[in-house]
Amino acid sequence: MNIAAAIDSVPLEALPSASEAGPAPKRIVVAYGFWIFLLSDIIMFAALFASYAVLVHSTAGGPTGTQLFNQRTVAIETACLLVSSYTCGLMSLAINSRNRPGMYLGALITFALGAAFLTLEIREFADMIVRGATPQRSAFLSAFFTLVGCHGLHVTLGLIWLVVMMVQVAVMGFVASVQHRLLCFSLFWHALDIVWVGVFTVVYLMGVSP
């Protein structure tokens, strides 16, 4: 049996690999592009994490993290964001099966939990500012407000995006472009939760533990 015969014996009905199948569908191209954006966003957060890690001990005689952070609030915030990520996943399942009431329910719970997270965070910031821990007090607080505030800003934008998407579904229905945007939204929301895992570990837990 020579080599040519061995090549001929390769089954022809094997599925073409991804690179031979022609251009990918738009859903995959859109999601891949958004995935690259999310990775660049995570790199931006990496720079903020790095500056926080460098400046965490530069309190300039001001309050330290141990004095400022309340772990109970952080635990509730973490639970809110984690469960909202889960309901966002269930919402994308409802979208895939064209289940409109299920989608609205998932979106409502996701929005409510995200809003609860944001309320707790704003209350925490206001409490810190009342106690004199403003961003201009020390380099540590500047880095803290930049990092955690940037994540909070992303959550705010995500909530606005979710409302816009619900309006689009109500007006346009499940057309392809709306489905692509909903896929991007769920990617965004899950990525925010990944960033929050870093925030509560690096800022709150490592800052409080002795």
Binding site: A18, A21, R27, Y32, A46, S85, N96, L183, L187, V202
Partner: protein, 131 residues
């Protein structure tokens, strides 16, 4: 040709036709939520307990956080090791490389500069550098 195998978008749920044994989609999210909740609770316990050696708490928290990020990637973002997900994994790997360079590089360089600034003698930095 109707049965073309396409790539797999990040966040897209893997199709059930390709894997008959695959668990239901809601179950994937539920498993992810439960594991993430367990890891989060462990993180908060590790940070507050006095049972563990204090020097190892930071490392333990880092390990738990990385594990939880992995759980989020697999169960929520559906980044798998399958051949249809290669592009997503490659982009992720490059992103992680840049994240590592930014964080570790910044901390290394600033710690090094900080150490160089703390000289016992009172002479200025420029004098020391010229020797």
């Amino acid at each position: 040709m109707t049965d073309v195998r396409y790539e797999h978008a990040p966040g897209d749920i893997p199709s059930e036709e390709m894997q008959a044994w695959a668990p239901s989609r809601a179950l994937i999210y539920t498993i992810g939520l439960l594991v993430a909740l367990i890891l989060t609770a462990t993180s908060f316990w590790v940070a507050n307990t006095s049972l563990l050696w204090p020097g190892g708490v930071g490392l333990g928290l880092a390990v738990l956080a990385i594990a939880q990020m992995g759980i989020h990637l697999v169960f929520f973002l559906h980044i798998t090791t399958g051949p249809d997900s290669t592009n997503n994994v490659l982009a992720l790997a490059f992103g992680l490389l840049i994240v590592f360079v930014v964080v570790a590089g910044t901390m290394w360089i600033t710690a090094d500069m900080n150490a160089n600034m703390m000289m016992s003698s009172g002479e200025p930095m420029s004098m020391r550098m010229q020797r």
